[in-house]
Amino acid sequence: MAGSAPVMTQMSYDMAHLIGATVLMAGFQLLYQRRLFAVLNTFAFQALALAAAAAWQAHIQNAPHLYVTAAIALVFKAMIVPFALHWLVERLGIHRTVETAMSIGWTMIAGVALVALSILLVLPVTANASALTRESLAMAMSVVLLGLLMMITRRNAVTQVVGFMALENGLILAAVSAKGMPLVVEISIAFSVLVAMTLFGIFFFRIRERFETLDLGDLETYRGDRQ
């Protein structure tokens, strides 16, 4: 398991591995939490770990533009988005327990299965890439899948949005660990998330105004194909 690139020492490899695993663990934490504010705090922690991952990659790849990515993750995703969602939850007076479509235990088991799946998927596909890239890609893929899982298994619109953002964290993690990803792409991703966040906020208000709830299960009666 020694680092294959000559510039990469065992230490830098281990650190990258560790930070990537922290992001992944935060993804699991998101699935485990039952309180809305705890979900938001965990999301902020995940973004913080992501910023650390980007900064560490910038350091070992000698790629200064990744520091910008780290700063974007730190400012937007670890601060602005959680604060905004926090404010929204308080403002809308949303019921603060997380309602799940599936029990927490089963969700976690499904999460582990997804991690195994993404490892099995990524390793054969990336046979030619360096060891660090392969591992980070496997972890990033897991984070993406866990975000998807969170979107599927949560009933409340706010937690679904957090799932979406977590998914996007996984994309950034993949982007920073692959060499040569242009900065423009990352900046545009970051801003699209911000725009999405604003749109979601407006949607929350609209949904609640119209249906007096943010539980998406209640919206299903309005779907055409059910009638």
Binding site: H17, L18, A21, M25, I104, I109, G111
Partner: protein, 314 residues
């Protein structure tokens, strides 16, 4: 030489166990704003209990009388063969991690039997809950064992410690995950706060206390002593496997052993204080959430193994 260290170890775990429990209680009391009893209070409690007459219920069978001795012996044996300050123990190779899990299981089995034997509702309730916790905690602990032995190629704690100390392993994600899982299992097995409250006699929240409610005198002393030794055992296990620094290895002389003793004291101090802070900061969990907590520990263990596979395959 290793026979002497083994003998020292056997009595050391017994001697420090009440002090560690007392220290946890003392720090918790201070954090709660109380003065608290001296850390030496558990010694006095045990001495007092040993002086008292043991009262046994009319409906109790021999199981009830035998259980404290079996429980205490199993836990003491587990603690005696786990390296605390040196790996050069005669019995260190007699029991690997899987055997240690089995010894703890034996102790738990007999405690649960004793809880049901008298036929009071509390005992049965405690036994049922204890078994539920055990059925979740044991697989998690085995999963930790598997990931550790995959890393080091052995299930013997002494050899794992020697392997880690020889620099055979770097900063490994799997080790961190296994540590988290083992900490969660340790909390559950020792009946500490998110799972069980060791200082309560409120029927809704009792697990371990409910099973030993009928005991008195020397029987109770043995049961409480077993709980204290179990806590020491887990601290020795966690401190030894994940922070083995300072431990005396094969071939180290008395100086190395002295350093090992000092390191063991420091590890116990840190872990016991940490436990007290953790217990003060967190609230007791609902019984129906145990499955999530320990399921989380099991999944962490599983993830540790998956990550090992990942770093092997890369």
């Amino acid at each position: 030489m290793s026979a002497i260290w083994q003998l020292l170890q056997v009595f050391l775990v017994l001697a420090v166990a009440p002090l560690i429990t007392g220290w946890v209680r003392f720090v918790k009391a201070r954090l709660n704003g109380r003065i608290g009893a001296s850390p030496l209070q558990p010694y006095r409690d045990l001495y007092r209990l040993l002086q008292k007459e043991a009262v046994v219920a009319h409906s109790a069978s021999w199981v009830f009388r035998a259980a404290p001795y079996v429980t205490f012996a199993a836990v003491w044996l587990a603690a005696a063969v786990t390296p605390t300050f040196t790996t050069q123990l005669v019995l260190a190779h007699a029991a690997d991690l899987i055997a240690l899990v089995a010894l703890l299981g034996l102790a738990r089995f007999w405690t649960a039997l004793a809880g049901m034997d008298v036929g009071t509702s509390f005992g049965g309730l405690g036994a049922s809950r204890e078994m539920m916790i055990a059925s979740l905690a044991e697989p998690a602990m085995l999963m930790v064992t598997f990931s550790l032995s995959l890393i080091s190629g052995t299930t013997s704690p002494a050899q794992i410690i020697a392997f880690v100390l020889s620099g055979g392993v770097g900063v490994e994600v799997s080790l961190g995950l296994a540590l988290a899982a083992l900490l969660m299992v340790g909390i559950a097995e020792n009946g500490r706060i998110p799972i069980d409250n060791p200082s309560t006699h409120l029927e809704l929240t009792m697990v371990h206390e409910a099973m030993v409610l009928e005991y008195s005198g020397r029987h109770l002393a043995l049961m409480e002593g077993a709980a204290m030794v179990r806590l020491t055992f887990f601290m020795a296990l966690i401190g030894g496997l994940f922070a083995p620094w300072g431990m005396a290895l094969e071939g180290d002389g008395p100086v190395g052993v002295l350093i090992g003793l000092g390191a063991f004291a420091a590890k116990c101090f840190v872990l016991a204080s940490g436990l007290a802070v953790f217990e003060t900061a967190i609230a007791k969990m609902r019984v129906f959430r145990y499955a999530d907590f320990l399921g989380g520990a099991l999944l962490l263990g599983l993830l540790a193994t998956i990550f090992l596979y990942l770093s092997e395959a890369v």
